[in-house]
């Protein structure tokens, strides 16, 4: 309790009401059209990174008569699949499908990495030399597996959150 210099008690201070929480509708979700356009751009970028560049690198190896660590078809299939799921995840982010699509993208990535893990160690016969080099990437692939596993967990948590409290995350995902 505060006091005036004279010692007399001060008049009661007016009660300040606690701040009201912002409305749960204080967010701005991009329209479906914008999301589809952005998702398409993301898809194109992802296809370049995950498909075009790796396939071009594999083609260069093939032209140099170097054995490929993975077939072009496998790389292209998983590359397109993962790119499509990641782009779709962006488009459906405001919806309840976001969690499941995240899980699907993570599962596709896990499947791709497991496919690589099951391959024997990569053996490279250096052209025009008698040298053969064998490299095992298992430890790196296991390290890379951490990323989709964590993403899968995040997707699962988001799915649960969307089931328990639909729309709860929108004001944080799409702040107004």
């Amino acid at each position: 309790m505060s006091a005036t210099p004279s010692g007399s008690p001060s008049p009661a201070a007016p009660t300040v009401p606690p701040p009201t929480p912002p409305s749960s509708l204080e967010y701005r979700i991009p329209s479906l059209g914008i999301r589809i356009a952005s998702g398409t751009v993301r898809f194109v970028v992802l296809v370049i990174v995950l498909v075009v560049i790796p396939v071009a690198a594999l083609d260069v190896l093939h032209s140099l008569s170097i054995a490929l660590p993975i077939s072009v078809e496998t790389e292209a299939f998983y590359g397109v699949l993962i790119s499509a799921l990641l782009a779709a995840r962006y488009v459906v982010r405001p919806t309840r499908a976001y969690g499941p699509v995240t899980i699907a993208a993570a599962l596709a990535s896990i499947l791709f990495l497991i496919t690589l893990l099951l391959e024997p160690p990569y053996t490279l016969a250096v052209p025009q030399t008698p040298v053969t080099i064998t490299i095992a990437f298992d430890a790196i692939l296991l390290l890379l597996l951490l990323i989709p596993v964590l993403t899968l967990a995040a997707g699962a948590v988001t799915t649960v959150e969307d089931v328990r409290s639909p729309g709860e995350r929108l004001e944080f995902d799409f702040p107004g």
Binding site: P19, P21, P22, P121, T129, P130, V131, T132, I133, T134, I135, A136, F137, A139, I140, L143, L144, L146, I147, P148, L150, T151, A153, A154, G155, V157, T158, V160, E161, R164, S165, E168, R169, E171, F172
Partner: protein
Amino acid sequence: MLHRTPPRLYRVSRLLRRISLVVLIVVLLYLASAVYSAVRLVESSAPSGKFSTAFAENNTVVIQGSVSISNPGYYPVNGFDLSLRVLNRTGTLLGTSSDGPTQIAAGNSTSFPVAIYVPVVAGTAAGSLLVADQPLTTIVWANATYAYLIPISVHFIENRSWGAPFDSLRVAPGTITGFDGSTVAPVSVSFLNHAPFPDTGTLEVMLVTASSVVCGSTTLTLDVPSGADYDQTQDVPITSGCPLEGGSVLASYTSSGVTLELPPEAIP
């Protein structure tokens, strides 16, 4: 402006996403630096390929040299071991060499001595190395773990031609003649020195009977440069009445305190 604290599940999900992003960045940085370091290592460690051959003790020929590895990159090479095998044209193992495992720290260079002792005892698979040029196969393995996580194995096979120090050696006694109460046999010695080193030393030639009794011997002084041929005939005093028919000619080469038995030749 006041913000509401994000709900617990949202924070958990966001944290997981952020950790996965950090892992991705760390892995990409690791891979980029590992590839960069590996390229520098390969560029800095051109194979020396300087191997020499010499006679050694205990009837052996030693093939020796060294392999230098320079690691200027950011990561160590752990558990590096190097193994070599030498096979003759029939695939028989002549000699081996192995070194390691050794760690080559980042920024360091290491040289691995290689010494393959090939026993050239007459009558063994490698005995012909002294008297016959032939192709040899060298098989090399190197194993290591690079940048803590990447096991690498390098393997190559190299075919080299071996130049024998006494190629086409021929030690043949001629017709025994007697004069002044003694008996001598002219012994012709010829060979080509195709080895990369000179034959400098002595060649002792013994004529023995089928029951290994020495009938006579002589010692020739050799100084045959690499690539030169040798052809000389010398009279060898023979013990009177010593039957050389069905016997053999034994030759041994001595150089710098090392003695090598050359393959025997039968006397018709």
